[in-house]
């Protein structure tokens, strides 16, 4: 999906240019954008104010409770470089990155590098606040730090807690720790599966309920919120009424994770394209209804399992996202295994993503149109089909090794061999004129992860 979503951004811009010539009316996206941003800024400062108040309270009362430490600071980071054999496109680990390894840089430090700092304030045994700020390559290419987690948690009982604020979604087993390299066995979670979900965080409320039955533990998480994210295309995506239900069942070394997620997604970059389609009568309106991404209900389902007795691990996950729009329906999977030999843990991973729906559309019937409109219709059909055909289709084999060479620091080396599907750019971005879909791309990654 990620290639389609990115591509959608570029096509959206192209359409805005087309519209500005006066052929077709254009929505006022700029005003909408700044309004949303202003609201987000207000919300950020509210969260910050509440967090600061809670944390300063906890400092004041800190000496009274000797059981748990009142304030805990911690941090993490990854310094990584990636080299790609494909110089006509970029490999990235996140769908929000503007560029990566390959075309933009032969060796890119932007793909995996990240640093984060966190503070947790335990105000009372039941009430705590959390703030995590991270710096990584943003959608606009800067490394300006942003708030990844910011919430206040209330522990109603030992099994039930509720958090209000920003949390990261538990879509897959490693989704909420995908940026904590040290916590993960690989340089990065398999890109096919972990780019299926275009939403990373949620501003809202989440509840977590633990259920013990015998030696089994089930942790049910229900989250409700929304997210607005900037995109490299300069526009933003809005996920409203975001609902996540995830359950993790653990028994000794075995873990099973299932998640369902739905949201009403608006890709603002596509607004102009489908508004343009709507100028073409009932057929254009029908195409806009079928393919538009304006408050569109999208659904994700994922299931994964892991067995990790310590000396070795094996895990696998599968997920599907249905956009019921031009962004299509995509499913992805991976299977991974590793074996610990002292400080070294070599691992092997297989993964893939494919599109489960049509990658082309006849679009508007051009023949019936007068010449001046036919030209515009051909342009719109071309734009629609270029998004549809950018569906990700790829398979990856990767092998690597984690070396825990010193306390709290590891070094990982990893090779990825990516077979792009016929006619597909896979998950690659920034495709250049010389790019050949369906080729093989080899990556070499080296990363140092640390926690403190």
């Amino acid at each position: 999906m990620c290639a389609r979503l990115r591509h959608a951004g570029l096509v959206g811009r192209l359409c805005a240019a087309l519209n500005s010539r006066g052929d077709i009316a254009l929505t006022n996206e700029k005003h909408l954008g700044s309004g949303v941003r202003r609201r987000i800024r207000v919300r950020h400062s509210l969260i910050a104010a509440v967090l600061v108040t809670t944390m300063s309270n906890s400092v004041a009362t800190g000496s009274e409770d000797s059981g748990t430490s009142m304030l805990s600071f911690s941090g993490f980071g990854t310094l990584g470089v990636v080299h790609s054999s494909e110089d006509q496109a970029d490999f990235t680990s996140s769908i929000f990155s503007p560029n990566g390894a390959g075309h933009t840089r032969s060796w890119s430090a932007d793909v995996d590098s990240v640093v984060g700092a966190q503070i947790i304030a335990n105000v009372t045994p039941r009430l705590s606040a959390m703030l995590q700020v991270i710096s990584e390559q943003n959608y606009d290419g800067t490394y300006t730090p942003h708030v990844e987690w910011a919430n206040i948690k209330y522990q109603f009982t030992s099994d039930l807690s509720v958090r209000i604020g920003r949390t990261v979604l538990p879509s897959f087993l490693y989704s909420d720790t995908r940026k904590i390299g040290y916590a993960n066995p690989w340089v990065r979670p398999p890109v096919e599966a972990y780019s299926l979900v275009p939403i990373g965080t949620s501003d809202g409320v989440d509840a977590s309920y633990d259920l013990h039955f015998g030696e089994f533990l089930s942790t049910l998480v229900v989250a409700y919120g929304h997210e607005t994210s900037g995109t490299p295309a300069g526009s933003n995506n809005e996920a409203r009424r975001l609902l996540v239900i995830a359950d993790t069942i653990e028994h000794g070394p075995a873990t099973v994770h299932v998640a369902y997620q739905q949201t009403y997604l608006t890709v603002n970059a596509l607004g102009a394209l489908f508004d343009a389609f709507r100028q073409f009568g009932p057929q254009g309106a029908a195409l806009a209804d079928q393919y538009g991404v304006n408050n569109r209900l999208i659904r994700f389902m994922g299931i994964g399992a892991m067995y990790n007795p310590g000396r070795w691990f094996v895990m696998g996950e599968w997920g599907v996202t249905n956009y019921e729009s031009v962004l299509g329906k995509n499913s992805a999977w991976y299977a991974s295994s590793g074996y610990r030999l002292g400080q070294f843990t070599p691992y092997l991973t297989f993964g893939g993503v494919r599109s489960d729906d049509s990658t082309s559309s006849p679009g508007l019937t051009v023949a019936a149109l007068p010449p001046n409109l036919a030209q515009a219709a051909i342009g719109l059909n071309g734009a629609l089909n270029s998004i549809l055909s950018s569906s990700p289709d790829q398979k990856t084999i990767s092998e690597g090794v984690r070396w825990d060479f010193v306390k709290n620091v590891d070094l990982k080396l990893q090779c990825n061999h990516i077979q792009l599907g016929a006619g597909s750019p896979g998950t690659l971005i920034n495709l250049q004129p010389g790019f050949k879909p369906g080729s093989i791309v080899n990556l070499f990654s080296a990363a140092i992860d640390f926690v403190f």
């Binding site: 949390t167 533990l217 028994h251």
Partner: protein
Amino acid sequence: MTPAKSVPLLTVGLVLLMASSTATADVVAVVSSRSTITMLTTNQLADIFLGRTNRFPNGEPAVPIDQAEGSVARDRFYGRVAGKSAAQMKAYWSKIIFTGRGQPPRAVANSEEAKETLVQNLNAVGYIEQNLVDASVRVLLTP
């Protein structure tokens, strides 16, 4: 002493050293001898120390007491109970800490301090070297 002779001697010395350290470093899971807890399975013990539960099977609150990072007792304990190395335990807790779901158990400096803590807190459960077991503690299991 010629080099040829010193090598086998050194080897014997090393083997003896390793054998003795294995013998003395065996750890046992313990509670206060006044605790109501009399036994735990390895899985139940692991769940308490991995933060998956904060209660004993009988419903009493459970407070796990760790030993210092890098201590032989700690590495031995998690190796036996969870099958995990020190680095794997750090990775495990990183996943929990950086998602705001919890904090690792409180750590004390050594087995003597662990025993003192257990005596003071009847909900506490810890691990100590087997040769330091005395009347103040009850051994739940030898992992």
